[in-house]
Subunit: 345 residues, 2 copies
Amino acid sequence: MSRATAQAPSNIAFVKYWGARDLKRALPYNPSISMTLANCVSRSTVEVLPDGAPDQVLLGGDSGELSLAPAAFADRVCQHLVTLRAETGTQGGFRVATKNSFPTGAGIASSASGFAALTLAVTAALGLDFSDEELSILARRSGSGSAARSLMGGYVELPTGIVASDGNSETASSEDSLSFSIQLADADHWDLRDVVAIVETGPKEISSLEGHKRSLTSPYYPRRQELLAQRLHVVRQAIAERSFSALGPVLEEEAIDLHLIAMSSRPPVFYWNPATLALLSTVRTLRDEGLPAYSTMDAGANVHVICEPEHEPEIARRLIAVRGVRRIIRDRVGTGPRLDVEPLF
Amino acid sequence: MSRATAQAPSNIAFVKYWGARDLKRALPYNPSISMTLANCVSRSTVEVLPDGAPDQVLLGGDSGELSLAPAAFADRVCQHLVTLRAETGTQGGFRVATKNSFPTGAGIASSASGFAALTLAVTAALGLDFSDEELSILARRSGSGSAARSLMGGYVELPTGIVASDGNSETASSEDSLSFSIQLADADHWDLRDVVAIVETGPKEISSLEGHKRSLTSPYYPRRQELLAQRLHVVRQAIAERSFSALGPVLEEEAIDLHLIAMSSRPPVFYWNPATLALLSTVRTLRDEGLPAYSTMDAGANVHVICEPEHEPEIARRLIAVRGVRRIIRDRVGTGPRLDVEPLF
């Protein structure tokens, strides 16, 4: 049977996707911008099975062994396989194996890299030639907005797909087919680093999905949306001009903002833990000492510290010393997904 | 010479004063509501000196000894003495000694109790008979909005003093003389407790005064003001009906809100430390276990846990076990200031 293997990276958002018009298809209320990572990747091997065969979802182990995936994981993968079958007009089942380069439970979200790799491997196994834009739409329909951005390397924006008619957002129509990723700049354009301080390794108390839902109940959500136009503009420009001093403050502001919305949701959502606060404070101290470093966070307790290459070793050294930090992952901007990788089976 | 001694309590705000139309006179943008405490008090002895004599500011020690107050403390006291001289039409200097019942540097703000006690002692030493309302205006003019609320026992509201003409807030006139405290209910009305978890004992990196100033730069400040009308209504009603289940959630929401405004101010203000977050999480856990407890915070890292009397011992026991907690102060709603206390000299 036809088989393909794809590798796709995770990414770290500079402007966050938080709150959706359509959660199942991850159609966002606002554009998001991220940096694609290099080392935190998922690999996915997909084999097309005969028509009507049941899907099989496996996990790749460290020594090359394969095991059945836990039910919750398998369910989410199967749901995306249903979507991909419908979109590609195929009937076959799929045998899927997935493996992450980063340790499971390391607190690195694997849905972005995982669904990007899965989407790419399925279409490749079917011999279908989709454009990056089309692939990003398919990946987004997994329910992970971040997965859509992981289909491209460098610096990537995912627009909302909303087209305002007559310049009046009240009469805007929202198009699923228009929310696809756009590469703002490739990885060679700007060598930025991401030092990830892992402080929480278990599953979150409140899932991102639930956080997205509740975000709309925050009394500050509409104001955040208003603020984003200017923030997106600054981030796009900072990337274009490789201006770290322009990017940094808005990056940190935006990360805090996501958590302000979470904490003011009803009921409130708290993702930070004590070590998160210690890290945020350490990063401010680093800046006071003249070391340019800015923190950002996804919907979780871990802290990503974005910096320029020359400051990465010192920043990593300082972060590992913070109480509550379990491990440090040093990553950098990456070139995006690949198909020339070793199969898992 | 004429001499008087007054004792006044601290208080914990249920609805926060954060942001001022006039910082020097603590004229607030929104009404605040607090519970006056019983055990955390300041005592102030004031002696009227001959006309033109320089003010003297002393601190009372644990063994009854008096020492010169540090310059920063003395300066703020002297500034208020200048205000009080102008308001009372006197020329005399003052010899002032102050002592707090709670340890200095325990992380309990002493400006509320201190300026309330000072205001009361000065007017008593001058033989002037001001009403509680007038005293609260004088105390507010120290620059501590909280001091105005400490002139009364029980549950106290400090209105803004803004009078809307024609129901149009655009043409509102703001009257310093109309922002005086109102007792919503006396201490006997409702026996609530405040278990204070002290996690920070040093001075804050960013003063409350600076926090107030920056608050107006938060893009969320105007929306917070809109939300407060409903929140004030709920708190007033919960106090009137002694409904802890109605008070608790809005109390916690409001405390988080103050810090959301601080963290979204430009530049941002962070008052929390790792132990603060651990405490907030512990209080949520207590509730999950069926123990009604709600946290609130002033502009600082310490956490006040408000509860009913029967749950106070267990809550205190649980809070002291949280990493980073230096000490627990157990306090309760109090009856307000007193003049029948032992002089410091």
